[in-house]
């Protein structure tokens, strides 16, 4: 991966990680804001590539949205500081702070930048955008959360994530809509407990890391590319199983965090919300199956001049991860034997 060979990029990746740490561990809103800003400014150099017009456009868009969100965040925390004492909670202030944070993480009503930008990013940057960049905003969101507003946001997230992905053919857009859908689940998990959120977030990152790595290796960006590749059988099966796992099909590990969240939803008597979340994640499985449709095929187009040289030492990791994805849920039941 070209990323780790470049010392500049390594440096900004380091700053990116630490800015998130600053943001989530500071004890004042202002410190949080500083962390977010550093995060933004360190992600821009990672995105931009002077050779690629799309990525510089994406970096510009990212900068605009994030800076407007940060601006509003700063404005809201300043108003909050002026208007009230420290531990007071005002309904509309919380909505303002939440909205700006949701804009930063790319959540549903303010998500329109998210698929556009992911379209211009490489797979590794997409991975960072969909996993690491969400940590700071989500943790800050959990500090000052408006519950009624959150339910509204969850429903919008899962539904827009499901419906938006229906007509897409670009893999990056599909994955970004799937990320929006999963963000709804994540917001609910962080409403319950941070540990649950960490578990869900870890599982989500784990699953999409395998897929993004595969897509990166095979250089795939659109669905129809999957059909003309002469992938070997193991890679096809890995793709299949990981997508089913991400969709939350029971024997695979992706179901486990969803199972726990469904359990909490039922315990809190949120039956309608459960129904909406489950049905919309069913629709996401539909478009995942459209992606992995090529792996069900017995016959596929095979071009003789089309060669992919896979780096086999990475393939080992992918196989290992897929093994965890298949059997993880079975093994995780051993943790609960006492």
């Amino acid at each position: 991966m070209h990323f780790f060979m470049n010392s500049n990029k390594m440096f900004f990746l380091f700053i990116l990680i630490f800015s998130t740490m600053i943001s989530i561990s500071s004890n004042s809103w202002f410190g949080c804001w500083i962390g977010l800003e550093i995060n933004l400014l360190s992600f821009i150099p990672l995105i931009s590539n002077s050779n690629n017009l799309l990525s510089s456009e994406a970096s510009l868009k990212y900068f605009l949205t994030q800076s407007i969100a940060s601006m509003n965040f700063l404005f809201s925390i300043l108003i909050k500081m002026i208007l009230m004492k420290n531990f007071e909670m005002i309904y509309f202030i919380s909505i303002m702070i939440n909205s700006s944070l949701l804009m930063k993480m790319g959540s549903a009503p303010f998500h329109f930048w998210f698929p556009n930008i992911s379209e211009g990013l490489s797979w590794f940057n997409n991975f960072i955008l969909m996993t690491w960049q969400k940590i700071a905003s989500l943790i800050l969101f959990s500090y000052y959360m408006n519950l009624n507003f959150s339910y509204f946001i969850i429903i919008l997230n899962v539904m827009i994530g499901a419906i938006g992905g229906m007509n897409q053919t670009s893999l990056r857009k599909l994955m970004s809509f799937s990320s929006i859908n999963n963000l709804g689940w994540m917001i609910f998990s962080i409403m319950i407990s941070e540990n649950l959120w960490i578990f869900y977030f870890f599982m989500y990152s784990f699953l999409i890391s395998i897929m993004f790595f595969l897509f990166y290796m095979l250089n795939m960006f659109f669905i129809n590319q999957l059909f003309i590749n002469n992938m070997n059988f193991m890679i096809k099966m890995n793709l299949l199983i990981n997508f089913l796992s991400l969709g939350g099909l029971p024997p695979f590990i992706g179901f486990l965090p969803k199972w726990i969240i469904i359990n909490f939803l039922m315990m809190n008597k949120l039956y309608l919300l459960t129904f909406i979340m489950l049905m919309s994640s069913l629709i996401t499985i539909y478009f995942y199956i459209r992606i992995i449709y090529s792996s069900f095929m017995f016959n596929y187009i095979k071009m003789k001049w089309f060669k992919i040289f896979l780096k086999n030492n990475f393939l080992m990791f992918i196989n290992l991860f897929s093994f965890i994805s298949i059997t993880g849920m079975i093994f995780s039941t051993f943790l609960y034997i006492y």
Partner: protein, 574 residues
């Protein structure tokens, strides 16, 4: 192979014949049980009962099967699967013998199911669509009887044993035993093709002709009659036996009428078999099981012979079965025509042939019994109808010119077939008299007025004249049938019986299934779950993409507007 098995079966036939004479002389019954499993005071046993009735029936079955196998040597000589055919016939004989010798309902089921299965395999022997349909109809009709026997087995668990022969007298007035008797009657009606189930017998003529001679004339179809003869103590004087009388008489009449409308040689013979089965069943249900058994045996002989003659004629005529193409057979095939005519005369009951003894005695016992006008007239009309279709068949086949192609090769020198027919010819001449001397301990005393005594001859002569007239019908007279189109349809389609068990049953269910598929599976359920949901989701997705495909600054502006609105609300609230 055919010759070997002919000698094998013939030897056992003669063996059982001599044993039968010995048993009759000494009035001997041998009964033995072989216990297979015993648990919780219930024992499953294979029991065998040898008395003169068993041995006599076994002798007839073995004799007919031996000559049929010898006959197949010529008839099936060019067939690829001759070995399979012989094995199937032997399996059939085995299951028939199992049925005959066992007085235990479980071991009867062994033979009974074996008969159904093997007869299915024999009917579909030619493996085309027609024989497949006929075989399926046969197998499923017989399956009803198998299920009823299975239910009888479960009912008889109450008595602790399945040897029904012990309970026939003792448990006669028990309620559960009356259920058992209903089921046995129904099972026998399926096997013997009585009226609700009779459509399979003409359909089963898709089988090879030796199979028809063995299975569908003499053995399998009489299995039901034999079962009822064994159960006759139980079913006598019950209400159901009167219903059986009605149904079997209707079968007799219906088959006799339908045979007059039929032009297929084998189907005419099958319908006459059906008519004779109705006769056996009805005399049985009037309380004369020994007469039914007598007629069963003598009928087996001449009907097997009739089928074998028909097989020879079909063989010679390049597999054409339509009697309108035949004619002048008696000139070209004198020996076969001899056999055919003798068996047909025996069927009609011409004096001193096989059919005379049994049939005349049956008719006289009917006239002698205490019965109503309906039964009386049905018997005599059916008697006349037998003569009617026989004379019609003879006129079509024997008298006129040969009606097929002008190039033909008819020869009567196939001695394998002729020899096998000679055996049955001998039997169909003498079997009536020797059986009547042998199996009745004392003669029936019959005392009738002269006209009633001559009634059989009257109706036979009248039927013969009508058969002669109808065979001379010209095209103008055939057109007269158009005037009674619906009636003709009703009569020649066996009172619409085939529709009852094939098209009538399956059509409505298949149509229902088709409508269900069209309206529910491919219609509303698709609309409300699969495709409809997909269309709605796509519409939503397209609607959503209108928002997604906007200018970037509109997103940012709308976010700022949202923040300003919230800000305004905040200010108002404070």
């Amino acid at each position: 192979m055919c010759t070997h098995f002919f000698f094998f079966l013939f030897f056992f036939s003669m063996l059982s014949f001599f044993f039968m004479i010995y048993f009759v002389m000494n009035n001997l019954v041998i009964f033995f049980e072989w216990e297979l499993i015993s648990f919780n005071s219930i024992s499953i046993v294979m029991s065998m009962l040898f008395d003169w009735m068993t041995l006599l029936f076994m002798m007839f079955v073995l004799l007919i099967s031996s000559v049929v196998i010898y006959y197949s040597k010529s008839y099936m000589s060019s067939d690829l699967n001759l070995i399979r055919f012989i094995i199937l016939v032997l399996l059939f004989v085995l299951s028939m013998i199992l049925l005959i010798i066992s007085p235990n309902i479980i071991s009867i089921l062994l033979g009974w199911d074996g008969l159904g299965l093997v007869s299915y395999c024999l009917v579909i022997y030619y493996q085309n669509l027609k024989s497949y349909n006929a075989g399926m109809l046969t197998a499923l009709s017989n399956r009803i009887g198998d299920v009823l026997i299975l239910m009888v087995i479960s009912w008889m668990l109450n008595y602790g044993s399945w040897n029904y022969i012990f309970y026939l007298n003792f448990m006669k007035n028990d309620l559960i035993m009356s259920f058992i008797s209903i089921m046995i009657i129904m099972a026998a009606m399926t096997k013997s093709a009585q009226i609700p189930f009779s459509s399979w017998l003409p359909a089963a003529m898709a089988a090879p002709t030796p199979v028809s001679a063995l299975v569908h004339s003499s053995t399998l179809v009489t299995a039901g009659v034999y079962l009822l003869i064994r159960f006759n103590m139980l079913i006598l004087n019950t209400f159901f036996i009167k219903i059986l009388l009605l149904l079997s008489m209707m079968t007799m009449f219906m088959a006799g009428v339908s045979a007059n409308y039929e032009f297929d040689l084998k189907k005419i013979i099958a319908l006459s078999t059906l008519s004779q089965l109705g006769l056996m069943m009805s005399i049985l249900s009037m309380g004369f099981p020994d007469l039914a058994f007598f007629h069963l045996l003598s009928h087996a002989m001449f009907k097997a012979l009739l089928f074998m003659c028909a097989g020879v004629i079909i063989h010679m005529m390049n597999d054409i079965q339509d009697i309108r193409y035949m004619g002048g057979i008696s000139l070209y095939l004198p020996m076969t025509s001899l056999c055919l005519n003798i068996s047909n005369m025996a069927l009609c009951g011409i004096p001193f042939l096989a059919g005379f003894y049994s049939k005349d005695m049956i008719m006289e016992m009917v006239s002698f019994s205490n019965l109503n006008l309906f039964v009386f007239f049905f018997y005599y009309i059916s008697m006349g109808l037998t003569m009617f279709y026989t004379i019609r068949l003879l006129m079509y086949m024997m008298i006129n010119d040969y009606n097929l192609l002008s190039i033909y090769n008819l020869y009567d020198e196939d001695y394998v077939m002729l020899k096998s027919m000679m055996v049955l010819l001998f039997m169909s001449v003498i079997s009536g008299s020797f059986l009547s001397w042998m199996i009745f301990y004392y003669p029936y005393m019959i005392y009738l007025p002269f006209n009633l005594k001559m009634m059989v001859i009257y109706v036979s002569l009248m039927g013969g004249v009508m058969g002669f007239l109808i065979s001379n019908m010209k095209i103008y007279s055939v057109n007269k049938f158009i005037m009674t189109y619906n009636l003709s349809n009703f009569l020649c389609l066996m009172w619409f019986m085939p529709s009852l068990s094939t098209y009538g049953l399956s059509y409505y269910f298949l149509n229902f299934g088709y409508n269900l598929l069209k309206i529910v599976d491919l219609g509303w359920s698709e609309f409300y779950s699969g495709q409809g949901f997909m269309i709605i989701l796509k519409k939503y997705s397209i609607f959503y993409n209108i928002f997604q495909m906007n200018n970037f600054k509109i997103y940012l502006f709308s976010f700022v507007m949202w923040m300003i609105i919230i800000m305004y609300m905040l200010i108002i609230n404070i």
